[in-house]
């Protein structure tokens, strides 16, 4: 056999058919001999990865080799790129600080990538909970830890690399079928994943030149992992799968009463009880063994996801540019020179270009969208931990985790969802006994689903717990002075009370929830991202909380209004209705504050043209329009000249040079390419109040001093 080089390996790989067992074995042998000839994988992450991939190739079925072979190809390429030079002596690294010559960009990439990998690993670990024999999932987790170990070592992060090594060694035993995957192993692996995350946080914190402090508990966990790898898991696994509590003392502890017949009888009774217990133990062990048989072929779900990391500001810029392109295109299409054109082919070409531009716009908007999968996964983990803590048995079902939502929204809904899940678990679902006594399944269910509905993303959390208690909520609300009596309150009104600040009906404060902060924070967060939250509940059968969220934060649904010569965008979510008031419905208070009477309530009027110092706007309210706007708590009627129509606009900041402008939340490019200002309704209401509306001195009238 000629001396194996990377070139030979690459050539071999290219001609390799994944189904060709002999060929694959030969390739694997080639990789091993190459690495052996080089003297190990030290100092070369790509070779380390290659070696790992080769190990895996040996293990997996033919159907799953394709991906691994592609991986191997990549690693060989990387190794050819030069990092496979003979292993250098590893420089000693002071673990207290980052290595002095570290490339910060590289480090940041490593952190971001590792976090992604860990998310994937966590998903696989949770998958293992329900299907412990899923070898592919074990491989995924192993690969994750292994990759982090390799790269961390390359970057000189010795503490992190060491820890990853310990975490990996337990899983490698599972992978090699030396120990079964059990709950101890699951727990250790999940904690390892958390610890790795903590390590990454520590590294991130140290980037600015700070000290690299290993996370708390790393030593303890390392010792535990070592113990596990040394065989503790194995023993415990045996005990766990076969252990049945048989009270052996029952026979030995036969009380000596002095009456041989009676003593014999008791002993016999105890013995027969023991026999029964043993029989059932054998049965349960048998059942356990049966359960551990693999349930059908393992799903091959390791798909190669080809993706490129792009900085968000670059992406935003692209989206901006595409938006401009749309405007430029519509200007060409709408140009009078084009519409009078006799040349039909040119008109057709312009229409065609328009179609492409619109497709491009859809595509660019979709680039910001990510599936909710990651968010749901975190919650799965949360439910698992909380259920363990509270001793409740919960079945957590998710549905529609491939529903896509704007990247920024994902972060914004994470906290509210955590609060909601905690509440449902702690207050909603009853303990086992209580459920049984009500004739329910002892295991509670929590169902989280996401779907699209009418241009919104709906996220729904449904539990089959005890439901909200109307009487209790009302009693609490009266005690807190939120309401005076329940007269005329529908169930919906009552449920809304749980969103009041500081409201909690929990009798005792638990570790999990019940401190009375929670649902009000949830509502505030959801409203901040222009979403809506609704509750439906039935006593005894459960509660459903529904979040209705806009598809993206970047796009605002707005009404374009005209005031004098200026145009403004009012977010649709703030608008209740628009109407032309009659002269009789208008009146003034002490000759200054103007009010309009609408459905028997008096609403203050804000004259936008006075507030903003706009010339040429309608003065008489009964010749213009009043637009009833509110921010959820307060409302006012804004005087505008005309409604120009409803638009979807991309909200942008006005530029840092201006700072914040009261009454304006941002700008948006309108269809004609000019900038329209988006009004901040809450601030307008505030401005209207403090300025007294009449004696407003617009800043524009002031001569600026230069």
């Amino acid at each position: 056999m000629p001396e194996t080089t990377l070139d030979v390996l690459a050539l071999q790989l290219m001609q390799l058919d994944p189904a060709d067992n002999a060929g694959v074995s030969e390739f694997v042998a080639g990789v091993r001999s190459f690495i052996a000839a080089r003297g190990g994988t030290t100092g070369s992450p790509s070779l380390l990865n290659l070696s790992d991939t080769a190990d895996l190739l040996d293990l997996v079925a033919a159907a799953q080799r394709g991906v691994l072979l592609a991986d191997a190809g990549r690693y060989i390429e990387q190794a050819m790129g030069g990092d496979a030079a003979p292993a250098p002596e590893a420089p000693p690294v002071d673990s207290d600080t980052l290595p002095p010559d570290t490339d910060v960009d590289l480090l940041r990439d490593f952190i971001a990538e590792s976090r992604d990998i860990l998310t994937g690993a966590e998903a696989a670990l949770l998958e293992l909970e329900s299907n412990p024999s899923d070898t592919e999932a074990v491989n995924t987790v192993f690969r994750a830890f292994h990759t982090i170990k390799g790269t961390a070592a390359f970057l000189g992060l010795s503490g992190l690399s060491h820890f990853a090594h310990h975490a990996e060694s337990v899983l490698s035993l599972v992978r090699d079928k030396e120990i079964p995957y059990n709950s101890r192993c699951a727990d250790l692996s999940l904690r390892s994943a958390d610890m790795l995350k903590a390590f990454l946080d520590a590294v991130e914190a140290a980037i600015g030149g700070g000290r690299l402090v290993p996370p708390d508990g790393a030593d303890v966990l390392t010792v535990e992992l070592d113990g596990a790898a040394a065989g503790e898991i194995f023993e415990e696994a045996l005990v766990e799968t076969t252990s049945v509590e048989i009270d052996m003392t029952a026979v030995a502890s036969v009380p000596y009463t002095g009456d041989p017949a009676a003593d014999a009888q008791t002993a016999a009774e105890n013995a027969s009880a023991m026999m029964e217990a043993m029989a059932s133990a054998v049965a349960s062990v048998a059942a356990g063994v049966a359960r551990e048989q693999p349930t059908g072929p393992v799903k091959a779900k390791h798909e190669a996801e080809l993706s490129v990391r792009v900085r968000t500001d670059r992406l935003d810029r692209l989206i901006d540019m595409v938006g401009e392109l749309v405007i430029a295109q519509s200007m060409i299409a709408g140009d009078s020179g084009v519409s009078q054109l006799k040349n039909q082919t040119l008109a057709r070409k312009i229409t065609h270009a328009g179609k492409i531009v619109r497709d491009l716009q859809d595509l660019s908007m979709s680039m910001r969208m990510v599936p909710l999968k990651g968010t749901f996964q975190k919650l799965t983990r949360l439910v698992r931990d909380l259920a363990q803590k509270s001793g409740k048995s919960v079945e957590f079902m998710t549905n529609g985790d491939d529903t896509e939502i704007d990247r920024n929204m994902v972060d914004a809904i994470a906290d509210p969802l955590v609060h909601m899940v905690r509440n449902s678990l702690d207050h909603g679902l009853e303990p086992r006994d209580e459920r049984s006594s009500h004739g329910k399944r002892p295991q509670g269910t929590l169902k989280l689903s996401a779907f699209h509905q009418g241009g919104h993303v709906v996220v729904e959390l449904k539990d089959d717990g005890r439901g909200l208690n109307r009487e209790k909520i009302i009693a609490k609300a009266i005690a807190k002075g939120l309401i005076e009596s329940e007269k005329g309150m529908s169930d919906g009104d009552v449920w809304q009370l749980i969103f009041a600040p500081g409201f909690s009906t929990a009798d005792k404060i638990t570790d999990v929830s019940g401190r009375g902060v929670g649902m009000d924070v949830v509502r505030r967060n959801v409203e901040q991202i222009r979403g809506r939250i609704d509750v439906a509940s039935e006593k005894g059968s459960g509660t459903t909380i529904t979040l209705r969220l806009p598809l993206t934060l970047a796009i605002t649904d707005g009404m374009l209004v005209r005031v004098g010569e200026e145009r403004y965008i009012v977010p649709t979510i703030n608008i209740q209705l628009s109407f032309r008031p009659t002269a009789e419905s208008l009146y003034t208070v002490t000759g200054r504050g103007e009010m309009v009477l609408l459905r028997e309530s008096a609403i203050p009027i804000v004259r936008l043209h006075r507030l903003f110092g706009i010339a040429g706007a309608a003065e008489r309210a009964d010749e213009a329009l009043l637009m009833l706007v509110g921010d959820g708590e307060r409302q006012c009627a804004v005087l505008v000249d005309e409604l120009l129509g409803q638009y979807q606009v991309v909200a942008k900041s006005l530029g840092r040079g201006l700072g914040t402008v009261p009454g304006v939340s941002g700008g948006a490019i309108l269809g004609d390419g000019r900038v329209g200002l988006i009004l901040d309704v809450a601030q307008i209401i505030q401005l209207g109040r403090t300025a007294g509306n009449d004696d407003v001195t617009p800043v524009n009238d002031r001569r600026s001093v230069a």
Partner: protein, 165 residues
């Protein structure tokens, strides 16, 4: 040496300047802070901001504020002419447009040709003038663009915010 702070920063003032005309006077800004030059376009006025802030414009999908330099320096406003244009400057990552009467040229002014700004007493503010460039027999006021953009804007915005408070 009337202005000690300006003297301290005299060291590296030489270089290329974009010069422009404002009410018959010639001004210059360092070329490195100039991003591009646009023809006049209508700006969207922003309520409750000082007069010299013309408003915001759409710079290829980006919203940027535009200042009227005439009003910023207390000169009388004029209607936009054919030669009026907007110089987009970029300072510390922030883009801003400046409306000027006319752009003249890009010229190199040697360090030795720059004199410290004169003092006319308290009535005539000179704190945003880096120095006076003399080249080819012409006098140009070299602007400290940071100061032109910052001081008053920050004041205006904080005053307006206090109104809401």
């Amino acid at each position: 040496m009337t202005n000690p702070t300006a003297t301290a920063t005299q060291a590296n003032l030489g270089g290329k300047y974009l010069t422009f005309v404002l009410a018959g006077e010639e001004y210059g800004i360092q070329i490195l802070s100039v991003h591009e030059i646009l023809g006049m376009m209508p700006a969207t006025r922003i309520p409750r901001t000082p007069d010299h802030i013309r408003g915001v414009i759409n710079l290829r999908g980006k919203v940027i504020p535009v200042l009227d330099l005439r009003l910023r320096f207390g000169m009388p406003a004029i209607e936009a002419t054919e030669t009026s244009c907007i110089i987009v400057v970029q300072v510390h990552g922030t883009q801003m447009g400046l409306v000027v009467d006319q752009v003249s040229e890009v010229t190199t002014i040697q360090h030795g040709d720059i004199e410290p700004p004169p003092s006319f007493g308290a009535d005539v503010p000179t704190d945003f003038i880096l120095g006076i460039g003399k080249a080819a027999g012409r006098v140009r006021l070299l602007l400290d663009i940071d100061r032109v953009l910052s001081t008053d804007e920050v004041d205006a915005v904080t005053t307006a915010a206090a109104d809401v408070g």
